[in-house]
Symmetry: C2
Subunit: 271 residues, 2 copies
Amino acid sequence: MNSPHKPYIYDRSDREAERLDYQASKLARLLNHDTSYPPGSRVLEAACGVGAQTTILAKNSPGAEFVSIDISPESLVRAQLRVSHDGITNVTICQADVYHVPFGPESFDHIFVCFLLEHLPDPLLSIKTMKEILQPGGTITFIEGDHGSALFYPDSMEAHKVIDCLVQLQREMGGNALIGRELLHLMTDAGFTKVAVSSRIVYADGSSTENIEGVKNIFIAMVEVVRELAIARGLVDNETWEKGIRDLYRTTEQDGTFCYTFFKAVGNKES
Amino acid sequence: MNSPHKPYIYDRSDREAERLDYQASKLARLLNHDTSYPPGSRVLEAACGVGAQTTILAKNSPGAEFVSIDISPESLVRAQLRVSHDGITNVTICQADVYHVPFGPESFDHIFVCFLLEHLPDPLLSIKTMKEILQPGGTITFIEGDHGSALFYPDSMEAHKVIDCLVQLQREMGGNALIGRELLHLMTDAGFTKVAVSSRIVYADGSSTENIEGVKNIFIAMVEVVRELAIARGLVDNETWEKGIRDLYRTTEQDGTFCYTFFKAVGNKES
């Protein structure tokens, strides 16, 4: 395999698509309210997946032209359906690998990348590759989570353990579930300038049903996906796993709290 | 000793007062920009310490009358000097224990408490005591940090270890350095209603000198205070401590990142 691309840690089932859809709509305001591109600009959305962010981006910047790429044909079918269903006309969907993009140098005015770097064995290489196809003077935006930011009450050793299973499995597959905190140095290392990073924290407690549902449907559901793999690999025993997941759900009860932090970074390619 | 009050984990030296002063001015906007009380209202500031928050509160609500209490006479001298120096006339400074406040029932329209609960062996008792002196229909505000929220790059086992020393020492003295996440349930358990908690995250990286200075002068300085105690108690060896502190400072260099989250909760006493 020429590309250092590794299999996506999550499955691409209907349930996963639903989860990503839910995730995108809940988080869209928090993560993307300050992303819009001027009319006439050509924007690459790298790793669009099932198009969960695509429609939001396209609606925020109706005058921009988006090219949304992903490596998975199955995901792209869904992305295409979603874009068509929403009547969006400023998005072109293409299959492409972020390590080998089929675009010439300086093809785009801006690049937008959400929840990709965490899955890549060599995120710096990917960022450098994307830099090449960016116009001088253009911007690149990365959004990533960081599972190390999960903070909850009641606290639970087993809950931390099941989250650690996800972190460890992702690391073994070449990814990094703690990459949010690394955006500054990665982008700086890739040669971007005026890199500005902001943290976006989601706080959920029993006083806000909406946020609590997000914790269940986004975060805990994501952890639960690796159950069988984690147990099969001996990272955790069945009993600890069950208690960890139970304890995570416990944090979503009336008197519980749950926090998670995303990081958004925008950098410039010097002109 | 009738009161469950325990010794303050930090010293009350000039250096500590300077650190708290710095902390208050840096964090004031983040933590207190949305705290103001209507003219004519009578507000208790419990555990005002050296008055670091007092002057900010008083300036934000010039028409309110503040009573600011603390158990330490040494701190109160500083608080009084600061209030006088700033020409503030709507603050009365009194020595009092939060467990045995010398005020009658329902004496105050509002109560404000910042960075106190983390030091108390029985925070719930303290919250209930404060509720008694609050008018029905009044609000109570708590602001607390949570050392479990510290997230940084480069990550370091030893850096987490030195933070854990502080958490453990505070716990042994009856406090709780992870109390931020518990505000909802504590206030609900005390019978407050419509409790609204918000998280306030501080993100610092090399692109913002101001925030980085805050990490050094506030967070790392706070950890360093317990060095001798932690080593004397055998919680950590000298070498690990030195590396942990070095690694914390490393996160404040050009390509490092550091995050910390505070929690602010406002609850109502039903009328």
